[in-house]
Symmetry: C2
Subunit: 250 residues, 2 copies
DNA sequence: CTTGCAGTTGACGTAACGTCAACCTCTAAC
DNA sequence: GTTAGAGGTTGACGTTACGTCAACTGCAAG
C-alpha cells in the first residue's frame, strides 16, 4: 500500500510543498518514485512523518529534528536543551515587554490620548465599557455577570494581548473590505474567524448569538461608532460578514 | 560636521553593513554621498538612527520602525500593539514549554538516564553537587552558603535554562578546541565569555578566582571527569582558556 | 478530445543582516 | 613617490521553513 504526496498531505494535515521540502532537505524521503517522478510514501515514511510533526510541534527546528530521527542525537537531551532555550527566550521577551511598557508609560505622560489610540475601546474601566456591561447584564442575565467577573481578574498583559488580537482581526477584515471583496467571500469568512477566536475569550457564541452580535455591531450606535472609526461602513460590513460566518461555520 | 559610515558605526555600536542595509531599505539615508560614492552622515541622521535603534531594542521590526519614524504610524499605538504581541508570544512559548516538559517526563519514565544526559552534572540535589557544596562551604566560607541558599530557591525552569546556558558555552568552546585553536585565541576567549556569563548566575569572579576555578576544573578529579566527558582533554583546555580570559578581560 | 485536478521541477520572496569577494580610496609612513 | 593598511564601494550568497507563482506533464472522466 502506498500513497501519493497529496494523499499523505491530506492525512497528516501538511501541504504537499512541505513534504517536498522535507524531501529536499533530506528529512523525509519517499519510499520510491514513479517512472514519472511522482513521490510515493509507505507505512514507515508515515510513521517517521508523525514523529517529525510531533517534534515540530514542540518548536524544534528541522535540523535538530533530522538529527533526532536519524538517531544522531539523543532525543531526551535535545528536548532538555530546547526546554532551556524556551525558558530563556521567554524571559528575554518578558524583559523586552517590561521595557516597552516603561516606554509606553513615558510617552503617555507627555501625550494626550488620540482617538486612534482608543480604536478598540475595550478598556474594561472605561465609562463606555461599564455602561455596556451593565446593560448587557440586564439584557442577558447571569451569564454576562460571570464573564464580567472573569475578565475583571485579567492582568494588564492579558488585556493588552486580547486588545491586540481584536485589533489584528478587524484590521485584516478591513483590508479585505478595502480590496472590494464581498462580505461572504471565503477569505473574509476566514478572517472573521480571527474575530470569532477573539470573542471566545469572553463567551462561546452559537449561530444565533454570533449573528446577533453582528446586528448589534451595526445597530447599536455605540458599537457602530467604534467600528466605523476603523473604516467608514465597517460596522455594516461586519454585520454581513458575521452573518455569513455564522451560516457557514456555526 | 559629517561622519563616515565607519565613524557612525563605531559611535552607535552597529556595523557598517547594518547602516548600508538601512540605506538600502530606505530606513536611513545618509546626508550626502561623496564623489567617490562614500556615505556621509550628519546630526539629523544620527538622531534618527538613535530613534531607530531605540525602537529596535524594543523588538519592533524594521518595517514598523520605518513607519513610525516617518510619522506614518502613531508610536504609542504601535507600541501597544507590539506589547500585546509580546505577551501572546510569551504565552505561546510557555505552552510549548509545558508540552516539552510533559514529553520529557514521558520519555524519562521509560528510559534510563545515560551518561550524556548528565553531562553537566549540575543537578543541585545530586550527591555530587551536595558534596561539592559542603566542601566549598568549608573552604570558602559564608559566601558559598549565600549562593547555596540562592540557588536552592531557583525554579526548575531557571535550572533548565542555566543548565542549557552552560551546555551551550562548553559546546562552543569544545568546537573551537576541535578546530585546533589555541586556548588563548581571541575566538576562544570570546567563547569563554559565555562560560563567564553563566558563572555570574552563581557568583562574581575576579581575575584570581576565575583562573583559580580553571585550575580546579583541571585538578579536581570530580570536575575534570565532568569536563573530559565533553571531549578528552577538555578540562586542561578550559584551564588555559580561563587563565587567558582572566588575563585579558578581568 | 478536451477538461481539470494532481503531480513535477525550478525560482523568487520572506527578516535582518553576516560574510565573503573583488575592487577602489584615503591617509600616513618610509 | 610609493606603499601598506585601514576603510570605503557594490554585488551576491546564506540563513528558516516553507508560500506562492510559473510552466509543464500525467491521468482519469465526460
Amino acid at each position: 500500500m502506498s500513497w501519493s504526496i497529496a494523499e499523505v498531505a491530506r492525512m497528516s494535515k501538511v501541504t504537499s510543498r512541505t513534504l517536498r521540502h522535507y524531501h529536499d532537505i533530506g528529512l523525509l524521503a519517499p519510499a520510491r518514485r514513479g517512472a514519472n517522478g511522482y513521490r510515493y510514501y509507505e507505512q514507515p515514511q508515515l510513521l517517521r512523518l508523525q514523529e517529525i510533526l510531533l517534534l515540530r510541534e514542540l518548536g524544534l527546528d528541522l535540523d535538530s529534528i533530522g538529527q533526532i530521527v536519524a538517531g544522531e542525537q539523543d532525543q531526551l537531551s535535545a528536548l532538555r536543551r530546547h526546554y532551556g532555550w524556551l525558558q530563556s527566550e521567554r524571559e528575554r521577551l518578558a524583559e523586552v515587554a517590561r521595557t516597552v511598557e516603561d516606554t509606553i508609560r513615558k510617552l503617555e505622560g507627555g501625550e494626550e490620548m488620540t482617538a486612534e489610540q482608543l480604536w478598540n475601546g475595550f478598556d474594561p474601566n472605561s465609562e463606555k465599557a461599564r455602561a455596556l456591561a451593565a446593560e448587557a447584564e440586564e439584557r442577558w442575565g447571569p451569564q454576562v455577570a460571570t464573564v464580567n467577573r472573569k475578565v475583571a481578574k485579567w492582568s494588564k498583559e492579558k488585556w493588552a494581548q486580547i486588545q491586540q488580537q481584536y485589533g489584528d482581526a478587524s484590521q485584516r477584515i478591513a483590508e479585505l473590505m478595502d480590496a472590494g471583496l464581498p462580505a461572504d467571500d471565503p477569505q473574509v469568512i476566514e478572517a472573521v474567524d480571527g474575530h470569532f477566536q477573539w470573542l471566545l475569550n469572553f463567551w462561546t457564541p452559537n449561530r444565533q448569538s454570533y449573528a446577533g452580535l453582528g446586528d448589534l455591531y451595526a445597530d447599536d450606535p455605540r458599537f457602530a461608532e467604534q467600528l466605523n472609526a476603523v473604516r467608514p461602513g465597517f460596522a455594516e460590513f461586519m454585520r454581513h460578514a458575521m452573518t455569513a460566518y455564522a451560516l457557514v461555520r456555526l
